[in-house]
Symmetry: C2
Subunit: 383 residues, 2 copies
């Protein structure tokens, strides 16, 4: 958060989590620019902080983002929305700004009110700890963790400016977006419409192309803020690429740390008639539980790939489909190809290629295997 | 198979399965009627026997169905189709009919050719064992099992006639259809168009409304044959209800025996604006891995229900949604309802009700929980 100049951050434990771990993060843009853009979950059931932040971001400017773990504040009715409103107001008071310039993000269990006494009580400590140091940025990334085994940050430097980011998310990872919160900061001077375009392009090709378990959350939020404090006005293309690089780095970190996963599976659809076709096929494969179990068992069961492809509306002929698993073309033109015994699935990274033989588009989606540990983690406690 | 008069059946072990278990079933219609109807998987990647039987069924008449377990004969190219053709021809020779009147069904691993020497060699024993006894019917049901822990049959009797059925399927159960083979027989005298209508109506409300794991197979086939040997021409409504009763019974048996499942979950969507809306919402919930894990852990995590509902295009307002788990309204009007601790999830049967408050349609879909045993069973071996 603080790799880009013009930002202060903090991460503190205020008692929302019963474990006593850090659970409140604050990121403040010191300017001179306050331009900001955001994308939110496409789930129609949206948490209170998403409803709030969607309104706030309409103005295209932000002074601060406050994020809590330990509770999603989703499905909590009008009272939950009031809780979000109060949180933004209290942050605004402390920073001498208006609540309408403060975004709020929450993550954790759905359907439970936040302990507002603890949250509001802890805000003063949170504001008091704000700093522009690397440590303060790391603290913020730490405070948004839920089942993440480690904090996730990424930074890229370009000619005279920096784009940095932090993210959380370890389960419920699915397009549109993953179950994740992400805040990106840059000290480049970028007009709001350009921030918005860069962010939408980047998330569509990164966070929207990871699908750990097919489940879409109520709280997903990605916010990009520009302080302009470097004074550098970047080339729009270069800037968009920098934002995408940070998002891609964070997205891969999310998949690498997905709940209970033992494999990171790269699903590459080649020769699709369109990008939409490629995406539909890739997502259908990414959500096929039987295939995900097979990869967990290191079994190159390519029949399960074809049965997933067959459920889509994409353009293809069944007898033209080919499938490679880690370089071995186990299925050629809809029939048996090379010996499946040649596939080595012992590595954590699995590369699946499906050739639709219907065009020239290539689309890649990342997913995980389905493991006993995933079932354990998601059955053993409410999250 | 033999509960209805006019049918002979057999089930034998011909060596397709390395375990030596029964793997070849034969059902023969002795008439006087030979009317038949069928529905097939909506997967675009169809196994050779599906492609064959679709052609055969166009004539609306069948003399016999031959079914093997131990191999799906899917994604096996033109050679696989030739194997199916040869199987039908050999059965036709033995029964003194034409191959065009013999349907073929296969189930098992995708992407492997069938051991045709064993299959064809075993057909003579199979034909030789044909009998109209209850035991022969039970043998046929036994021979189509794959991971099913037991054979599945159902019979209903109506005024002067019988509808009977057998089915297999324990995983890859998803609408359109489940991974299943099912043969239904009746001694009622029913014209083919009426058979077809009864079968389509029944499967749409039974097999198409079970969704164990969201995966759709390449081989699903449901065949209904009428021998007319009772001489009874039934009331069309009563007959359709009888067929649906047999299908419903078999569908529940499939869900009860789904791979690794510890819960049977009845998802009832009430007050939907349309049947299509109710189905979309129910299927979205049935495919939510996080919720299915929660039920495995007996955790009434209703937030996961709402986040699944929110991914659909059905008509609803988020703040009008209510959810009951085993009779406890844990979510009312989009917010926190009764204490989730009141839910007792210890029973194998879980009843989930989602009130969309958008109309008056009710739709029910059955699914299972997602368990460590499911992952184990589907990772530990190729099927």
């Amino acid at each position: 958060m603080t790799a880009a100049a013009g930002f202060r951050a903090s991460g503190t434990a205020v008692g929302i989590k019963s474990s006593g771990a850090a659970d409140l993060a604050l990121v403040v843009n010191e300017g001179p620019s306050r331009a900001a853009a955001a994308v939110f979950t496409s789930n129609r059931v949206k948490a209170a902080p998403v409803l709030w932040s969607e309104q706030v971001l309409k103005a295209g400017e932000l002074d601060a983002v406050v994020l809590n773990s330990g509770g999603a504040n989703a499905c909590t009715g009008p009272e939950g929305f009031q809780d979000t409103h109060k949180t933004a107001e209290r942050v605004a008071e402390a920073l001498d700004t208006s609540a309408a310039r403060v975004a709020v993000c929450s993550t954790g269990l759905i359907g439970v009110r936040l302990p507002m006494d603890k949250l509001l009580g802890g805000l003063f400590a949170s504001v008091g700890s704000l700093a522009a140091t690397a440590e303060a940025g790391a603290d913020a990334a730490e405070a948004i963790r839920t089942t993440d085994t480690h904090a996730k940050t990424a930074v890229v430097e370009r000619s005279g400016y920096v784009v940095g980011g932090m993210a959380k998310g370890a389960g419920m990872l699915a397009p549109g977006l993953a179950t994740m919160l992400c805040v990106l900061t840059t000290d480049a001077e970028v007009p709001q419409p350009e921030l918005d375009a860069a962010l939408r392009g980047a998330t569509a090709r990164t966070f929207d192309r990871i699908d750990s378990d097919g489940c879409m959350s109520t709280n997903d939020t990605v916010i990009l803020m520009s302080s302009g404090s470097s004074g550098v006005v970047p080339d729009p293309c270069e800037f968009a690429q920098a934002v995408e690089a940070v998002c891609a780095d964070l997205a891969r970190q999310l998949i690498a740390d997905a709940e209970g996963a033992s494999k990171e599976i790269e699903i590459e659809i080649v020769n699709a008639a369109s990008e939409a076709d490629g995406l539909e096929v890739a997502r259908s494969i990414a959500r096929n539980n039987l295939l995900k179990c097979a990869f967990y068992g290191e079994d190159p069961n390519w029949g399960r790939v074809l049965s997933a492809v067959g459920t889509t509306r994409a353009k293809f002929q069944p007898d033209e489909l080919s499938v490679a698993i880690n370089g071995v073309w186990v299925c050629r033109r809809g029939g048996v190809g090379e010996d499946r015994e040649l596939c080595d699935l012992s590595d954590r990274h699995v590369h699946l290629v499906v050739d639709l033989a219907a065009g020239s588009e290539t689309v890649t989606v990342w997913t995980n295997d389905l493991t006993k540990e995933y079932v354990h983690e998601n059955s053993a406690y409410s999250s």
